[in-house]
Amino acid sequence: MTRDDAERFLIHEARLLDERRFDEWLALFTADCLYWLPIGDSDSELEPSIVYDTRTRLEERVFRLNETRAYAQEPPSRTQHNISNVDVEAPPDDGPVTLRCHLTLFEIRVGDASQAGLGVPQILAGRCEYRCTRGPEWRIARKTVWLLTRDQPLANLSFIV
């Protein structure tokens, strides 16, 4: 598990999101995964998160994007996930691997650019941590993104970070 491997994996994930291949993206996760965007520093279940998706909830998120009329995605977001500062921590045994990276995400919704909410890029920055299981294919057991703006007033986040 070299940094090269980690980078390849993260770039692949970013491509799936940016090309709206959400089913393939979902397949990267384990059956008991958690996709988490915290607000504060607490990991208490009695605190709210921006996103706290178990596998079931994550499938709902993908279903919402693929199958439903979600007005916050009409017109849909165009995204560009840029990955940097990749680091990998692989214990010598067969335990889970931890990947860390920074994310710069550009998002824009394209339509009549004179209307509010369209034609203006949104830029999000975040610090990501992936807990991955080993096997023939790496699987994400937990993806956490600490957005730089996590406790600030946020705009439409109906795409996938």
């Binding site: 965007l37 607000i39 504060g40 607490s42 279940e45 009695l46 605190e47 709210p48 998160s49 921006i50 996103v51 706290y52 079931t56 909830r57 709902e60 998120r61 279903f63 919402r64 199958e67 439903t68 009329r69 979600a70 007005y71 916050a72 009409e74 004179s114 209307q115 509010a116 909410g117 406790d151 600030q152 007033p153 946020l154 705009a155 439409n156 986040l157 109906s158 970070v161």
Partner: protein
């Protein structure tokens, strides 16, 4: 610009609000003076200030304030502005402080706002009266854990202001068998391009759900929890109501509003027993009814959260949703309530972004101001008066009309009657 009295047309069979009320910066400024700076507005929940020295910063309209608990436990709402040259004295969102020091020339204020000291005091006469130089204070009132402030030194008491809505605040608090609700430390915050009143109207709007939340309904249907048809049937139940002083609500006694935790779930039998023991079995049925309650102008009580509107400009608004924890129930129930909240609400929920999209759409559409009027006349022909309170079908615009009647009353008068 339309004259102030004519911005709202309220006649039999006809109710309209002028486009200027949503887009005009001049009207926005007047709203700040005549509504937000003159009436009771919500500023904080008591659970945000559990100990002496605790504070949060917020705004009354657009004016920055600090809500503090002083060393004797008394809550104050202080203008966040040094009495010397006008600098902010507190920059943080919340914390615990022994005092507030202006960073510019080291004027120091106590947590009750009193001026304690200032640097190089020989530059002022020895008999300078410090009593008049504390941080300016707003009037403060508390009811059921909700802290309200009024910048205008004159006006009605909070008790008088909340007379009609108090019973619904009580019912909201009584979801806790201890009658005690606290807010979580973190909150969902949203910024949108659009007027604050677009959120005000939407929070008590029972008309949009079948359309704007079709995505959410399909998600719930897919999960096997409730078919879309059952959802739309719920939207035919319950009622809307307009209360005095601009307040109003949408009420569904049987529950079932989108994104809300199901309090009628038979698996909550021990909670139901707890409520009956604490409040009585009959009262319990009333408590478990679902209500979205607007307390004009800037506060909503929802089942899962307290929602606060902060107007920034005619076209910018910040909304904060503070999820609530019911005291006296098992953690599992509060965890389930929170996860249900996150599923619908917040910037990445499956409901809120679709609502916000409508506010933004209205902001863009209202720029077509060659069309003068926004209609809020739905249900006027079938509205009933009960004890002077209008009520109507749950999809009717009764609570919005109540808010705009109060809005017009405040906007057209220079002094409060």
């Amino acid at each position: 610009m339309q004259s102030l009295a004519d911005l709202v047309v309220d006649r039999p069979g006809d109710f309209r609000v002028h486009t200027d009320a949503y887009v005009s910066p001049a009207i926005f400024e007047l709203e700040m003076r005549r509504i937000f700076e003159r009436t009771w507005v919500y500023v904080a929940h008591e659970s945000q200030l559990p100990a002496a020295g605790d504070y949060i910063t917020t705004t009354i309209g657009t004016q920055p304030v600090i809500v503090t608990r002083d060393t004797r436990g008394v809550v104050h709402v202080l203008l966040n502005r040094c009495r010397h040259r006008g600098s902010i004295v507190c920059r943080l969102a919340s914390g615990r402080a022994a005092q507030f020091m202006c960073p510019y020339h080291n004027w120091v204020y106590a947590t009750d706002g009193a001026l304690i000291s200032f640097a190089q005091k020989e530059g002022y006469p020895q008999d300078l009266d410090r009593a008049d130089l504390g941080l300016a204070r707003a009037a403060v009132g508390t009811y059921g854990g909700l802290i309200f402030a009024r910048l205008d030194p004159h006006g009605e008491s909070l008790d008088a202001r909340l007379a009609a809505v108090r019973r619904y605040i009580d019912l909201w608090n009584e979801r806790s068998p201890h009658r005690r609700i606290r807010v979580t430390q973190s909150a969902h915050r949203i910024a949108y391009t659009g007027n604050w009143k677009l959120q005000m109207e939407n929070g008590v709007d029972g008309y949009h759900g079948n359309y704007v939340h079709s995505s959410f309904m399909r998600i719930v249907d897919r999960a096997g929890e409730r078919p879309v048809a059952a959802f739309t049937a719920v939207r035919d139940t319950g009622s809307t109501r307009g209360l005095a002083a601009g307040d109003g609500m949408i009420e569904r006694p049987g529950g079932g509003m989108a994104g809300q935790f199901d309090y009628r779930d038979p698996r909550l039998a021990s909670y139901h027993a707890q409520l009956a023991a604490a409040h009585g079995a009959e009262r319990r049925e009333e408590i478990l009814g679902q209500r979205n309650l607007l307390i004009f102008p800037n506060l909503f009580l929802f089942e899962s959260h307290i929602r606060v509107l902060q107007p920034v400009s005619a076209a910018q608004t910040i909304v904060t949703m503070y999820p609530t924890i019911l005291e006296g129930v098992p953690d599992e129930m509060n965890v389930a309530r929170l996860r249900a909240h996150e599923r619908f609400f917040g910037p990445a929920g499956f409901g809120t972004p679709d609502d916000v999209e409508m506010f933004v759409n209205c902001e863009s559409g209202l720029r077509a101001h060659a069309v003068s009027w926004v209609r809020l006349d739905r249900g006027l022909h079938r509205e009933q008066l009960n004890d002077g309170e209008p009520s109507s079908h749950s999809t009717d615009e009764t609570p919005q009309r109540s808010a705009y009647r109060r809005w017009r009353e405040l906007m057209r008068t220079e002094t409060v009657v």
